[in-house]
């Protein structure tokens, strides 16, 4: 069931996920479309998330936005007290400015492998950190080896922060500890995106990849063909999987396997390395005291790609 509406306020709105913003020119959504989009969200009972560009919006836009309860996703350069989620693109940031913030950090794998030591400092101050590896689908077997080692080091950092009495939230390692079922991006199933052209898309990535790939517009409403394929029960590999923290990116799925419901091996292996390191973290914390006693232990498994179990 749909729960969220993402509204891209401008063609240059910041990316908070795997995709790149491929439209360099500013194009602000029309005020009328913005109003209609909000109306649609209200009528469908959707939680609205606005995605901002790096420049200040005209006051009349801010006034319209304020007509509904919402959350604001903004680039670091536009960070202000109205920001709910701040997107840091790369590794240039001032830790002090991010104190208490919910942060999305976008990085290539190469940069993550070089800069991961900096994450402990961030985790110590932010409310929540989500790291998005923007080229996760291009990671090789040796990258995965290295990723495993990086996650283990990060696991130690998280553990020491926990032992200092804090409760860090870190998508790669702590989300899986808290979850009891799949919690993925949900594009096309729980979330839909309104683009500055007044049309709906499965998610912003689909808009930037091909504007013709819309799934409805404000005048005619949503029209998602084969909509069932965006739901977990129609994803034959993912529904057998317990890497519940996985983003399960349907756009990457389509890009790599040509089907929105089938992930690439690369996406699965990365998510399983995170899952397995989360498991070690859980065991280690439990060995030192009571930790999330109501949550079931994460099982030991012998695969990194659930495709292998469905093939058996």
């Amino acid at each position: 069931m749909l729960q969220y509406l993402v509204i891209l306020l401008d063609d240059t709105s910041v990316s908070f996920c795997h995709y790149d913003v491929t439209k360099p020119e500013r194009r602000l959504i029309s005020l009328d479309d913005l109003r209609q989009g909000i109306r649609f969200g209200m009528m469908e009972n959707l939680m609205i998330q606005f995605i901002y560009p790096d420049y200040a919006l005209p006051q009349e836009y801010l006034d319209v936005i304020d007509t509904i309860d919402h959350s604001n996703i903004k680039p670091l350069s536009a960070l202000d007290c109205e920001t709910d989620i701040v997107v840091v693109d790369g590794w240039k940031y001032n830790v002090a400015k991010l104190n208490g913030a919910v942060v999305v950090l976008r990085t290539s794998w190469n940069q993550l492998s070089k800069n991961h030591n900096n994450l402990k400092g961030l985790l110590n101050v932010v409310m929540r950190l989500s790291v998005v590896i923007t080229d996760v689908e291009r990671m090789t077997a040796s990258d995965h080896e290295q990723y495993k080692a990086v996650l283990e080091l990060l696991g130690k950092d998280v553990e020491s922060i926990c032992l200092s009495g804090k409760s860090p939230q870190f998508n790669l390692l702590t989300d899986r500890l808290m979850l009891t079922e799949m919690n993925n991006c949900g594009a096309g199933d729980m979330t839909i995106t309104l683009a500055p052209n007044g049309k709906f898309y499965i998610c912003p990535a689909f808009y930037y990849e091909n504007e013709a790939d819309s799934v409805g517009d404000l005048n005619n409403g949503l029209n998602i063909k084969n909509r069932q394929l965006y739901s977990l029960d129609h994803a034959p590999i993912c529904r057998k999987c317990d890497a519940w923290q996985c983003r399960r990116c349907v756009w990457l799925n389509r890009k790599t396997t040509l089907e929105v419901n089938i992930p690439s091996r690369e996406q699965c292996v990365a998510a399983h390395l995170e899952r397995n390191t989360s498991r070690q973290l859980m065991l280690s914390l439990r060995s030192k005291g009571t930790f999330l006693p109501d949550i079931e232990e994460i099982k030991e498994i012998d695969y990194l790609d659930p495709f292998e179990i469905i093939r058996q």
Binding site: N226, L229, F307
Partner: protein, 399 residues
């Protein structure tokens, strides 16, 4: 009547059914005929496979033995009409044999070369020399649609629509049956063919062909009332097969004891079609999960290329095929259908007909036709078993 008198010929399963990898070479997109139901929308005379592409495909496949663990292999040659490229095929087969031997490959001595031909060139010296050289590893099916009237309705010469090909094919049937007495012929039924089904199958039996593999096309070609006509034809055919005693020595794949039952959503959840477990390569050296995903077979979608002879296979592109199951791709009516078993689908047609670019939306254009087949099939088995029972009783009384 003894036990052995109760004889019912089975539809012949193909060699190593289910355990062999099928590797298809699309050697040419040309054909002498222009069959009216042919799904190959992009046939042409230009795209012929070169030796270089064929060799690179074989080298890739044999170099990656671990990626092809199946016990056996069927190298299939299709077109267009494959025998138009008999020189190339002969060279490919020789090369495969030498390579399997010299590499001690696990397919050595567990391979077949398979052909589906229109039969027109079957008698020619080159084709015959090839057959004689490879006969112990060959399977060849000739397509003949039935009586001359029925065959010539669809299978006409290219450029001469009024000239049917029946006589050009049927003259080769005795030679074919002498060389491959167990082979089946393949018959494809479209809307216009329905009135001729009975006479066609009986005609093929009359030609000495003991197994007729017959299918309705998956495409959405059916008109209102076709299902009733179809049911009627199959009932008449059932009567003739049983009353004429053909069931003992002749098989027709329309009648099968396993069709028309509900299917368990968990235990009987396999995909029907083998796309993805097969591999096809075309003249450009592109790999496909099955020939139906090559551009020349598709009406309305882009081809699904899963690699090529230079870069190899992109395994991510195979995952959707290998993860397919019946329930995930089926609409609700199929999930709860009481006669679901035996109701087939073709992944390529599903893809071609789908509302989005997906192989996960099952097309059900054959729904009413399958239901009609189930009715006739039930009638067939009820009638046949009653006859066998009565025959048994009368023998006992006489005894």
């Amino acid at each position: 009547m003894s036990e052995t008198d109760i004889k019912i010929k089975d539809s012949t399963a193909s060699w190593q059914d289910g355990v062999a990898k099928t590797i298809t070479f699309i050697v040419t997109k040309d054909c002498q005929l222009a069959c009216k139901y042919c799904y190959l929308v992009g046939k042409n005379e230009k795209e012929r496979m070169s030796w270089d592409v064929a060799k690179r495909a074989i080298d890739y496949i044999l170099d990656h033995e671990r990626d092809f663990p199946e016990k056996s292999v069927i190298f299939e040659f299709i077109g267009g009409e494959p025998f138009l490229e008999i020189d190339l095929i002969d060279r490919i087969c020789d090369y495969i044999k030498v390579e399997l031997y010299s590499r001690c490959h696990h397919w050595f001595d567990s391979y077949r070369f398979s052909f589906s031909t229109n039969g027109i060139n079957y008698h020619t010296d080159k084709v015959q020399a090839f057959i004689n050289k490879n006969i112990s590893h060959l399977s060849i099916g000739i397509t003949i649609d039935g009586t001359q009237r029925k065959h010539d309705l669809n299978r006409v010469w290219k450029g001469v629509e009024e000239r049917g090909s029946y006589l050009d094919v049927v003259r080769n049937i005795p030679l074919w049956l002498q060389q491959f007495p167990e082979e089946a012929t393949k018959v494809t039924i479209s809307s216009a063919d329905i009135p001729y089904i009975k006479e066609s199958v009986l005609h093929l039996y009359g030609l000495g062909i003991h197994a007729v593999n017959i299918n309705v096309v998956f495409e959405n070609v059916w008109k209102d009332g076709d299902d009733k006509l179809f049911e009627n034809q199959l009932m008449l055919l059932a009567d003739d097969i049983i009353d004429g005693g053909y069931y003992k020595d002749y098989a027709c794949s329309f009648f099968s004891e396993n069709i028309g039952k509900p299917l368990d959503p968990e235990r009987e959840n396999n995909n029907w079609c083998g796309a993805g477990k097969m591999l096809a390569v075309d003249a450009a050296g592109n790999f496909y999960p099955c020939t139906r995903f090559a551009a020349y077979s598709l009406r309305s979608k882009e081809p699904i290329v899963i690699g090529n002879v230079s870069d190899g296979i992109d395994k991510n592109k195979l995952r959707p095929f290998l993860a397919l199951d019946r329930i995930t791709q089926s609409p609700d009516k199929c999930k709860t259908c009481n006669v679901a078993s035996g109701c087939a689908w073709c992944q390529g047609e599903n893809y071609d007909a789908a509302e989005t670019n997906t192989i996960y939306q099952r097309a059900t254009a054959i729904c009413l036709m399958h239901k009609a087949r189930v009715h006739a099939n039930n009638y067939y088995w009820n009638k046949l078993y009653r006859k066998l029972e009565m025959d048994g009783r009368s023998t006992k009384c006489e005894g």
